[in-house]
Symmetry: C2
Amino acid sequence: MNEYIYKCFNCDKEFSSTEIERNFIYLCPDCGKAEKNKPLNGVLQVIYDYDSIKNEISREEFLNFNPGQIKSYPQLLPLKNPLDEEKLARIKFPQSPLTTVIIENNSVQVFDDTKNPTLSYKDRASLLTVLKADELRCSDIAAASTGNAASSLAGICAALGLTSRVFVPKNIPKSKLLQIQTYGSEVYLVDGDYDEAFDLCLEIASSKKWYNRNTAYNPITIEGKKSAAFDLFIAGKGDLPEYIFVPVGDGVIISGMYKGFWELKQLGWIDEFPKLIAMQATGSDALVRFIETDEFTYKAASTIADSISAGAPRNLYMAASAVKNTNGRGIRISDENILKAQSNIARNTGILVEPSCAVSYAGFRTMMEEGSIDSSDKCLLMLTGNGLKDPDALRNSNKKLNPKTPTDWKNELLNE
Amino acid sequence: MNEYIYKCFNCDKEFSSTEIERNFIYLCPDCGKAEKNKPLNGVLQVIYDYDSIKNEISREEFLNFNPGQIKSYPQLLPLKNPLDEEKLARIKFPQSPLTTVIIENNSVQVFDDTKNPTLSYKDRASLLTVLKADELRCSDIAAASTGNAASSLAGICAALGLTSRVFVPKNIPKSKLLQIQTYGSEVYLVDGDYDEAFDLCLEIASSKKWYNRNTAYNPITIEGKKSAAFDLFIAGKGDLPEYIFVPVGDGVIISGMYKGFWELKQLGWIDEFPKLIAMQATGSDALVRFIETDEFTYKAASTIADSISAGAPRNLYMAASAVKNTNGRGIRISDENILKAQSNIARNTGILVEPSCAVSYAGFRTMMEEGSIDSSDKCLLMLTGNGLKDPDALRNSNKKLNPKTPTDWKNELLNE
């Protein structure tokens, strides 16, 4: 049986995993608070016995695993029962997520999570959450979401035979709703925004005893998201980038990645952290503002990059500390430059990304132009969602691209 | 240097690869004909020196390769220059395409090509065609297409730095056009249907000296598509399914798969062919009709499964012989049952597929219901395109799925 405890990120109190999990507690029993339009307080972190893990497995053994295979390191997963390999075989992550590409003459590495089971990074969190629900004998899993987290939960539940129940704002983009519905999810439309849906999900899930996958609220979502750090470590054969550009909405991906690197450091397998660069849209920059002022202020978010649109990032405090502890920074990108970056990535690499993760390339370009990095720095862009998940954004990014009409091109080709 | 010849599928004449390739010949120089609303005559096939390949590589060595890695078997590729590994590393196919799933209580294997570089099977053909164009020092590649082949060519060209030029009917679905444009393809709208686009592409590409990727017309497309047969052989550790359900439009996928199995037989590595079951939509059943009557008659195609909509399947004759030589058969599926199958696959496996490949599951169900197969038969469904490529079809398949409104679900949950 796997040993781990839960520790509050805000008050540092520790709790036994049995107490937390058997009672379906998500936030810190002492200081946990989920308030409207505020980051969560008392997010829990899973802490393992790293000394004993170090004795069980060596850096070399770890580096011999294949990326995308969480079954390789059960010691670092918050699960108590042995993994069901037959079930796990139905959920496939890319085994070679790391590629070197050239975009506008710059050579840079990308971490491609756009080919995941439901084509987004969220699948990392959904998989582990669904495995935990299964272990706790919950057949129903709830989540509030504006899109990717819900369709990810819906897809993973479909693959593993559980029921997903999704609370979404009633003005959710039709295309995202379709993805969720096609997987057979029970969809509950909410009169209000994401915050409203989040609160209703907490209330209803708790009264119906549905397991709750709300991002950051459920600490397993952060544990799930750390697997990208391990995949990166393995795929790079132990050699990590110096800078990683990470799209930030609720701040769970950047927190999860930091958690993964932090564990590699606890295990003595890395010496230094990659600098985590938190990338946000100008219209949804709560984390960047927090880094600058050390204070959270709520401002309704508005950006075309809906997957990173969050007025009150749920995992703000943990995300800010991930940036600080790695000597990273935050950068804002305008919607116009996000769409430009999306187009440049597609045209130069053949990878079609969502606007949300196009910010990673826009940030890399910003730092190159500033001169704060140059071509000798080893940089990595996190590509966290497939462009086909959001056809409306493609429409915007292509507004000016009129295809050649029969009259146009006949004249042009014949006169050349 | 790799040795191979071209052989006409219709008149059996053989041609040296240098003659064919240097002169940019695609169809048989003797009997080749591309006529409007007719299958192509004189499609060429690539034939290798199997006896010498047998001496170079053993069945056991071949089975030790990883799926998705064409660089493993350069002897079986129609390329003369050594492969550029750095370029090839940018184009990633799933390394574990084979999964056992349970759909409506039936256990069945699926071959999942929905996570390919541009999320469709077409990438197998595009990759090899683009590598060949590169070898022939053509920087521009043209294709006529109604969607997936064009977006695949556009994506692979973007990744490898070539220019794609795509001829599409001017009523192409907006979402497919967007995918193609985002990759930076030069798009030429055609006043007319796919047939018109096909003919114009032949004419213009030939006069502009652009390499031509038209499906079946360019024999390299068939060679590219055979890699799925090899991946299947490798992933199954040499153990092949008894029945493979293959969606059929122009008939190039089923021809390519048959070519792969035929080569495995030439090499003495398999004894029997899996039975290839050609799956078509009722409104686009030219191959099924041809199998029944041994005669081709043109009928305009009409089906929601646009990726397999073809009134005159370009590779009809080769596809029909693939079915015949494997003791397979053809089956028609109504649009209504295609959408039902799409929904059942998503809800039971978490894999979101296009309507075109949902026919594979519908065919499996048909044969189970007929009693012509039972649960002891080893069956495989080819899943050839991601559902997100065609949001309009998702809309149709979800017409009746009204999500619960706030009033609905509050009443329901509170009264339970």
